[in-house]
Every structure is written in C-alpha cells, then in structure tokens.
C-alpha cells in the first residue's frame, strides 16, 4: 500500500480497522504517526464539539408532538361536531316542513288550484242535475236543499292530499268555482282573499269548509250566501 492510498483511507475513515492498513502502519513509523495524529485530532474535535444540550429538550420534543396530535384530533372532533350539527339542523328543518300541512291556507290553495287547473274545469259545459250534485255531495255529508243554478262541473279532486269536491256553477255574470273540503284539523281559511284577479271567500259549515272562488266578487258573494242557506251538512 503506497503512502497516498494509505492517507486516503485514513482521511476517509480514521477508525478503519482493515488488516492491511494495520500492517502497513506497523511497518512504517511515519505512517503510524500520521494515523495517530489524525485520530488524536478527531478525538479532541469530538470532545470540543460536545456542546451542552438544552435542558428538557427531549421533553419539549415530545410535548410539541403531543400538542400537535391533540390539536389535530380536536380539529377532527370539531369537524364531526359541525357535521352532526348540520345533520341535526337538516333533520329539524325537514321535520318542520313535514309538519307544514297543518298550516295550509285553504284560501290560498284554492286560488292556486283554479289557476293550475285552468280551462279544464272552468270550460266544462255539462249540466248536472240537483240529484247528481247531491249524489256527489253525499260523500261529504252534504245536501243541497234546492237548485242553485246551472252546475257545469262537479268532480272529486285532490286538495292537498285530501279528497274534496270541485264544483263549477253559474253566478249572475260569471262562472264560480266552489271547493268542498272536509274540515281537517289545522287547516285554516281566510274569510276573504283576493289577488286582484280572483277572489276567494270561505265558509265553514259544521265540519266542512267551503271555498268559493271567482273573478267577479259580487258573484262570489252571491254564491257564498246562497250556499250558506241551501247547502246543509249533517255532520
């Protein structure tokens, strides 16, 4: 092993315990001196570099990590909490909406129903006899004592999931729609409702509500008062 190679190895790895290296050093005192100088310097350097470690560094490191983990968990818990809160809110809201039918305003519904149904009922041009109308009314426990004018249309319809009777009859000047709705608890009506085009007036007879809808307010009032007198309900 030549001098250069020997030095290269020592520089790279002063603690090397290669057999060949040891033998080379033993044969040459200068090489041995060089090696031992390097090792001595290294030992001194190692001692010199031993700066003191801050007190409790290890504890600080563990504490920092614990706090980090805790924060992460808290964040996750907070996420779960807000998720749960959102779900509760949605469930609460849908429950409230579910309950909504009990607050349904029959007057408003009636107007909407007429608009929605359009010409189908209003342009019907049949002529129901008193008996035919009474046969329909019987299902609702009602009865017309006498003829109240031409009835163009009289059919069952669904009124917010409640089976009701939809009648179109002749007023003085125009056609008027009458809804006969069984009185479901929680439904409400307004005595008088107008949207500027249609007018709805309601009437409560025993256990049934009547809503009269028409363009002509006078006709609506006329029919309403006629019904009040002539339509009789048993229950």
């Amino acid at each position: 092993m030549d001098d250069l190679e020997f030095r290269r190895i020592i520089y790279a790895d002063p603690d090397c315990d290669d057999q060949q290296l040891l033998e080379t050093a033993q044969k040459d005192s200068a090489k041995q001196q060089f090696w031992s100088d390097i090792r001595k310097t290294n030992a001194s350097l190692k001692k010199a570099l031993e700066v003191s470690i801050p007190d409790d560094l290890a504890h600080k490191l563990i504490l920092r990590q614990t706090i980090e983990t805790h924060n992460k968990q808290t964040r996750r818990n907070r996420l779960f909490f807000s998720l749960a809160a959102s779900i509760t809110l949605v469930v609460g809201l849908s429950f409230t909406l579910w309950q909504q039918p009990s607050y349904i305003d029959l007057s408003v519904q009636s107007l909407a129903h007429v608009y929605h149904e359009g010409p189908h009922a209003l342009q019907a041009n049949e002529n129901f006899t008193l008996q035919q109308v009474n046969a329909k009314l019987a299902q609702y426990g009602g009865h017309l004592s006498s003829n109240i004018g031409q009835v163009y249309y009289a059919n069952d319809c669904e009124f917010e999931k409640v089976k009701s009777l939809h009648i179109v009859m002749q007023g003085e000047n125009s056609k008027v729609t009458v809804f006969v709705v069984p009185n479901i608890k929680g439904y409400k009506t307004q005595d008088n409702l107008t949207d500027g085009f249609l007018t709805a007036e309601s009437l409560e007879l025993k256990n049934t509500r009547l809503v009269v809808v028409g363009e002509n307010t006078q006709d609506v009032e006329l029919i309403r008062s006629k019904l009040k007198q002539q339509m009789l309900f048993t229950a």
Partner: protein, 185 residues
C-alpha cells in the same frame, strides 16, 4: 359490524400507541446527536433548537416511512438538513458567527479547555461544505462512503472536502501555536 368496528378501533389506537412509543424512543435516543448536529450546522443555539423541533415534528408525521430503526439517525439528519434549507428559503436570518462571540465557559481554563475552545472556533470558521462532512465523521463516526450517501455527494468530493477541512484545521492550529509561542516568548 359493531364488533368489527370495535376491533378496528382497538387496532387503530394500539397503532397510535406503538407509534407514540417509537417516537419517544427515537427522541430519547437521538435528540442529543441531532441537536449537536444542528448546532454545528447553524452555529446558533436558539435556531438549532427551532430546527430540531421542526425536524422531530416532521419525523413524527412521517414516522411510518421509517422502516429500519438503524437508519433513523441518517433519516433524521436528512430531515434536519431539509428543514435548514427551508429556513433559508423562508428568510435569511442574521446569524452571529460563533467566533465573534465569546462562548460562555464556566470550566477552568486549563490546557485542554483552551485547545477545545480553539477547535470550536476553527470548526465554526470552516466553510459549511467542509464543516459538514467533518462533523459526520467526528461526531458520528461515519465512513467516507456513508458521508457521501448522507450528503448526496460523490465520494471523491467528500474525500477532497475532508482533506481540505483537516488541512485548514492543521494550518490554523499551527498558526495559533506560533502566535502563542511568540506572545509567551
């Protein structure tokens, strides 16, 4: 289903416990070495402590990627060097060089202490590219090859740097011995 969930939860928490144990072992075994390395890398106690904190925090986050405990030290050094580099990306600190400040030293100023102080001064005066390979050799007993791997350098480059570092130390020591001799004489 419930049983399975419970089992899963138990496994998860025992995994967490294992991870925690591993981490604590790592901290106790290596925080000294890592701190010293950081200190000699940045030559400032406060900054060194900060970097060590960041290093171990990052180590915790990716502890699962450490497969071989024997490689832990070099793994941590790699993280530490990256954290140090990141510090420079963020902001260039004004560091006080060690040789500008007197190192607090309560020990008796005997011959050995004087020598150590001198060596510390020389070490901190070394260029970082010379200082780091020498630190790895002196402090951790890394071989040339291991240093090359750790610092991601060619082995010949490492050899050259080690050689120059050692030469600089020798020269500086000789110079100061001359000075001392002159002063004393």
């Amino acid at each position: 289903m419930n049983m399975r969930n419970k089992f899963k939860q138990a496994t998860v928490s025992s995994d967490m416990l294992n991870k925690q144990k591993r981490y604590e072992t790592l901290v106790y075994a290596l925080h000294g070495d890592i701190y010293r390395y950081a200190y000699w890398l940045v030559k400032n106690k406060a900054v060194a402590e900060d970097i060590v904190q960041e290093t171990f925090l990052r180590a915790w986050k990716s502890l699962d990627s450490l497969k071989d405990e024997k490689a832990a030290k070099s793994w941590l050094i790699t993280i530490l060097r990256r954290e140090n580099a990141r510090r420079f990306e963020r902001k260039q600190f004004n560091l006080v060089d060690l040789d500008d400040v007197a190192i607090a030293d309560d020990h008796l100023a005997n011959e050995v202490e004087i020598e150590h102080r001198e060596l510390r001064n020389i070490m901190s005066g070394l260029n970082e590219e010379y200082r780091e390979p020498l630190m790895l050799q002196v402090m951790f007993g890394y071989s040339g090859e291991e240093i090359a791997e750790q610092l991601n350098l060619n082995k010949n480059t490492v050899m050259t740097r080690l050689f120059r570092a050692r030469n600089q130390i020798k020269e500086t020591l000789a110079k100061s011995n001359d000075n001392r001799g002159r002063k004393n004489g």
